[in-house]
Symmetry: C2
Subunit: 247 residues, 2 copies
């Protein structure tokens, strides 16, 4: 796997609020920022904004983007990176309107962050974060150019969509992902087609859930790291962000 051969960039916490609820995001800025940079909003997996997401944020910043990892759980609400976090995730999966509202709060905070070019925004997420990336695209916020889901949930929500999704969408999917079976793939293809979105789906044969997470070693649950799919999806994401966000 291409892990950028450089020291990991340091980030820092950023607080923001939505009404009475406080959130704590995490932002990493590339070295040597001269002009404002395009921004990758990173949506965390079901464990919340924990160390793995912070590590990913540093990798995105190393690509030259300001990476703003948003928080949909709330300040101080964090799960276990390797445990069961459904008690944190499920309330938001069951209330997609609340999830969208929290995504938009984070997105708006990212756009207001210094050194961000608020006209060149993308969202990227992994697992539950992939679902979040798609839900942010479905919310159609201004200037969102691209959305990328790595082994995300693909089940379409029951949210009414009244105008085209303008973000260019890239779904990176392992065919043997038990969390995203073929019927969900067919469903989201239909949904995104009807929504007039520019969309692509890259399917990796044999790959299972969490195929980019090197610590994913739970074959009994279909959660397994896959080096080929990791490398291919990373390259596809880079190409997609490059072409969507420009230089």
């Amino acid at each position: 796997m291409e892990r950028e051969n450089m020291r990991e960039l340091k980030g820092h916490a950023v607080e923001y609020a939505d009404g009475d609820t406080n959130f704590e995001g995490y932002v990493v800025v590339p070295d040597k920022v001269a002009a404002n940079r395009a921004c990758v909003v990173l949506t965390h997996d079901w464990s919340g904004l924990t160390a793995p997401t912070k590590g990913l944020a540093a990798r995105y910043a190393a690509l030259g983007y300001v990476c703003f990892a948003l928080d949909v759980y709330g300040k101080g609400v964090r799960g276990d990176p390797i445990g069961d976090n459904s008690h944190l995730m499920n309330p938001l999966i069951e209330d997609r309107s609340l999830l969208q509202r929290r995504l938009l709060a984070g997105y708006n905070a990212a756009r207001q962050f210094s050194s961000v070019d608020a006209a060149r925004m993308a969202v990227v997420g992994y697992c539950f974060g992939g679902t979040c990336a798609l839900d942010l695209a479905r919310a159609k916020p201004p200037h969102l150019k691209a959305a990328v889901s790595f082994h995300g949930g693909l089940k379409s929500p029951d949210i009414e969509e009244d105008k085209p999704i303008s973000a260019s969408i890239l779904l990176l999917h392992g065919w043997n992902d038990p969390m995203a079976p073929p019927e969900h793939v067919l469903g989201i293809a239909e949904e995104l087609t009807a929504a007039e979105a520019d969309w692509q789906l890259h399917v990796y044969g044999h790959a299972q859930h969490a195929f980019t997470f090197e610590d994913a070693k739970f074959p009994e649950r279909g959660i397994v790291y896959d080096r080929k799919a990791d490398e291919r999806s990373w390259a596809a994401m880079r190409h997609h962000l490059d072409s969507s966000l420009g230089g």
Copy 2:
């Protein structure tokens, strides 16, 4: 579309036989060949080895590969590039064993061609040629490293497969291709998984059949050029051949 900005490389006819049947392929060699080169075997669409396939062969040679366009119809048997060529194609679709035999004859001729590195072989095809590229991979010939199908038929044949497919397979598919509906996509995913093939599927939303052919302007038949899908699939193919065939 990235059309290589150079004069088109010239090719020439190459005759070969399978038993009593004579075939006429077409080969284009890159400029400045020093060592032997990796070879892209190109499988023609339903019109046979006509001008569009020869133009594609020149584009593959411009990438640095020896491009050997094989012939599954027979010497002098050519169709109409824009007409109905089902009378030529259907006998081979109905006899996949005969088709495989002809594909192997061409493949072997390509491997014996001077300036080809016979250990670094790939096959690429468009439309019916995409089906052919997959059928060649299914025949498991020696040293076939990669197979790429552009808007090819995806229906799996009823051919018994007794060992893993070793070629790395890339399927480039328009979601709205009426010749390759979702049930064929699901079927080939199942087939290639069972065959233990390294496979990827890139789906382009809204794209229809023949999305890389600039002259495809038949929306009433679902045959339409699509610039985005053309560019994306060309880039994906390049990456796939680079990584499968090495330098």
